[in-house]
């Protein structure tokens, strides 16, 4: 059996239960990278805005750090290869823009706020999102610093600031536990042979290793007491209750309920959106998509939502009676999506 390397920990609950989704992460990063690169190169004489350059270089580093099999699985391996070459040719020119963005002191201040929020037992979902964002921010900054070193133009002030951020993180690992599922998924994207390929890039993944170590320690000591936020994606929480109020003129303050699923290959997506229960809204719709396109292969296929059957129509949509869904919820059915004659389960994903 291949050594999974330091970035994958099968002992961790979410990893073992298959709740993490590295393929989705890589797919999203690549989507974003290709879109952003196209936008930034469409005006050849203009340097991209600092934020765009920063995000691009961060994504470039993160994708460079990825297991090649995950990039191939997106079906856009050649596009990545071509884009990576184009990006390398622009790194030197765009780095000065990107280096204007990172703010280690700002990160430290926000990390302090996160720590306070953890102490105050803030809402778990919010803490998870916040911790994930902070980790992503730190990762972006470290990847930009890596790119600068690689181009022979290290930014001493940034390096010094990042060292302080890293020290804070190592002293406050538990603050990032709410983002444990994300950390495990992030680790699973990293190629196991990274240190041998690029030691500098591997250094940007050190924080993942120490966080995974800490998560394992915690799980060993306390047991898997809390299942991660990702589980919420299959819950009915927030699904609009039947309402007698005919508030047709104004949307309710609670907003719209939505859930998202990915096909097993990761190439297709389904999204359920449901507004308040009002006259004329007796059906709720799941829309299937392949990016911005209609997934033609799904048209005419049967689909089950919480055990309720419908057929995907020519617009790539399937409608379900609201009352039937409410009854399914009352009967204890999970809000799960199955597609095709084989009733293949699609994976619920957290909204990005």
């Amino acid at each position: 059996m291949n050594d999974p390397g330091p970035y994958i920990r099968d002992a961790l609950l979410a990893t073992r239960a298959g709740l993490t989704d590295p393929a989705l992460l890589v797919d999203l990063w690549l989507d974003r990278f290709l879109d952003l690169l196209a936008a930034c190169t469409s005006l050849p004489d203009e340097a991209p805005a600092p934020e765009a350059a920063y995000e691009l270089i961060g994504l470039f580093g993160r994708l460079t750090r990825c297991r090649p099999a995950l990039i191939d699985a997106t079906g856009r391996g050649p596009a990545w290869d071509e884009a990576a070459v184009a990006m390398q040719g622009r790194l030197a020119a765009w780095l000065p823009q990107a280096l204007r963005v990172p703010n280690p002191d700002g990160w430290l201040a926000e990390a302090g706020d996160l720590a306070d929020a953890c102490d105050d037992a803030g809402p778990e979902e919010e803490l998870a999102g916040w911790a994930e964002q902070l980790l992503t921010d730190l990762d972006d900054a470290e990847l930009v610093a890596w790119a600068a070193r690689r181009e022979g133009a290290p930014d001493a002030a940034l390096e010094e600031g990042l060292a302080r951020c890293d020290a804070w993180l190592r002293l406050n690992l538990d603050r990032f536990f709410p983002a444990g599922v994300f950390v495990q998924g992030l680790g699973q994207t990293i190629r196991p042979d990274l240190p041998g390929l690029d030691l500098g890039l591997a250094a940007t993944a050190d924080k993942v290793v120490v966080l995974l170590d800490a998560l394992e320690d915690s799980q060993e000591r306390m047991g898997p007491v809390r299942l991660p936020v990702a589980i919420l994606t299959e819950s009915w929480e927030g699904f609009p209750e039947p309402s007698l109020a005919l508030a047709a003129a104004t949307p309710v303050a609670e907003g719209l309920f939505s859930r998202r699923w990915r096909s097993p290959s990761g190439a297709l997506e389904a999204r359920l959106v449901a507004g308040p229960d009002r006259p004329g809204t007796d059906r709720v719709r799941v829309v299937f998509a392949a990016g911005d396109e209609l997934p033609a292969s799904l048209v005419g296929q049967p689909v089950w939502l919480a055990g309720q059957e419908a057929v995907i129509d020519a617009d790539g949509a399937a409608d379900f009676p609201r009352q039937a869904l409410l009854a399914a919820r009352a009967a204890g059915e999970p809000l799960a999506l199955r597609v095709g004659e084989q009733r293949q389960p699609w994976r619920a994903v957290r909204d990005e």
Binding site: D35, L36, E55, W130, Q133, L256, A289, D315
Partner: protein, 445 residues
């Protein structure tokens, strides 16, 4: 959570040319901000594919609970799928840090507003995105200021914070776009026309803008009419004080507390609005409670049945003693011919006291000096009291011109109760603090 980036929205052309799928993707990208930021055509296209998005085609509610505020922003660059001007709903909340997903420049502005308006109670206030409960969070921290002009949200943020501290809710009919200027208090804003267009479309009745923007405001009014009314925030010289600069805005922004509101909340509203509005509010909403508080503090032996006083400009002051004493009959003097304001006050007092079963008699005084007025009063008072014992009568010296109250004191018979209402005043305009009134009561020797 994905950080929203303008680049992801800039690639699309005219909304009419969007496919329904692309429109739905844009709505997904913006989530709960879609109805605020996307052009209606985009939302309608998206709703063709996903009917639930019909909800987004209706105007969403502004955050009108205490702490709510909304930044009226406009983009400096054309992005076809986005509105030229848009609203970002926000909320100040006590005891929390700023939302890390705020646009960076708005977070900086929130910190500046907090520094300008330190909380006397020492409470910390954080600014959050006012996200509906069911919706997923969106990270706006990557939005740059070139396209936001966050500085123009200063008046909205400061107004929202000042009201929040008083537990007062903002009116969704009152909008503002004004930056802070260290020298003049208010600083001009950009792209005012687009902002006024949006305010008009969404039913604002008043929009407060810096006086420096008067030319654009006039031009807009000439071509669009006077709804919403554009009101100017005047710059000041010297050291501008934010709360003072914003006074006219706050006067309109704060919503009168509902019938369930506590007396203390009502008093905070009274302090926040203009004197004219405060007096009207005190008369309509606070008078009953003020009367009961005054009655509770009256001496046990001070229970006159007949009361004589002078009509001043404020009916609340005139009607307070008769109501607190639960007098049966009241004699109201006024200088004849009465000024219009005195006539209005007299009418209001009569109406109020009559509704409580108190019989009111009014008497005009024609004399020009205290001695003449005292003589006139003496005769009328004698007729009014008849054989009522002096100890059953009271003379309230609080309202009216001083010459008339001096005459009234002189005209009171020996043994009658004399009253004067003590109260505390609020700086800087010395308005009476409702609930602080209490009567000094003594017998004329």
């Amino acid at each position: 959570m994905t950080r929203l980036n303008w680049h992801s929205l800039e690639g699309d052309g005219a909304p009419e040319a969007l496919s329904t799928r692309r429109a739905a993707r844009l709505v997904e990208a913006l989530g709960w901000l879609a109805p605020w930021w996307l052009r209606p055509e985009v939302l309608r296209r998206a709703a063709q594919l996903q009917p639930a998005y019909e909800d987004y085609t209706r105007r969403p509610r502004l955050p009108v609970r205490p702490g709510g505020c909304w930044a009226l922003l406009a983009r400096g660059r054309e992005v076809p799928v986005l509105r030229p001007a848009f609203v970002l709903p926000l909320a100040w909340e006590p005891g929390i840090n700023d939302d890390p997903h705020l646009p960076g420049p708005l977070g900086e502005l929130a910190a500046a507003v907090r520094r300008q308006l330190p909380d006397e109670g020492g409470r910390a206030w954080g600014l959050r995105l006012a996200r509906p409960a069911r919706e997923r969070p969106i990270d706006l921290s990557g939005l740059d200021d070139d396209l936001l002009g966050a500085g123009s949200a200063w008046a909205s943020l400061a107004g929202g914070l000042l009201l929040a501290r008083d537990g007062l809710a903002p009116s969704d009919r009152v909008w503002a776009s004004a930056a802070w200027d260290e020298n003049y208090g208010v600083g001009r804003v950009d792209r005012l026309g687009a902002k006024l267009d949006l305010a008009a479309e969404w039913g604002a009745e008043q929009v407060f803008v810096p006086a420096q923007n008067q030319p654009e405001a006039s031009a807009w009014r000439d071509s669009h009419g006077d709804r919403p009314a554009v009101r100017l925030l005047a710059p000041v010289n010297g050291r501008p004080v934010p709360a003072r600069v914003l006074e006219p805005y706050l006067d309109e922004l704060g919503v009168e507390p509902g019938p369930e509101a506590s007396f203390e909340a009502c008093v905070r509203y009274h302090a926040r609005v203009s004197r004219r509005r405060a007096n009207d509010f005190a008369w309509r909403r606070l008078q009953g409670e003020v009367v009961e508080r005054c009655r509770a503090l009256l001496p046990r032996d001070c229970r006159p049945t007949h009361l004589v006083t002078v009509v001043g400009h404020e009916p609340a002051v005139v009607a307070l003693a008769p109501a607190a004493l639960r007098a049966r009959r009241v004699l109201l003097f006024y200088k004849a011919p009465p000024e219009p304001a005195i006539s209005r006050a007299l009418e209001a007092v009569r109406e109020c006291l009559s509704a409580q079963g108190i019989d009111c008699t009014a008497a005009g005084l024609t004399g020009d000096c205290v001695a003449d007025q005292e003589r006139e009063m003496g005769q009328v008072v004698a007729d009014f009291l008849g054989d009522v014992p002096a100890g059953q009568s009271a003379f309230d010296l609080t309202p009216g011109w001083k010459s008339l109250t001096l005459a009234l004191q002189a005209a009171a018979p020996a043994g009658a109760w004399l009253l004067y209402c003590q109260h505390r005043q609020r700086e800087p305009d010395t308005r009476v603090i409702p609930g602080s009134q209490r009567y000094d009561c003594w017998r004329k020797g």
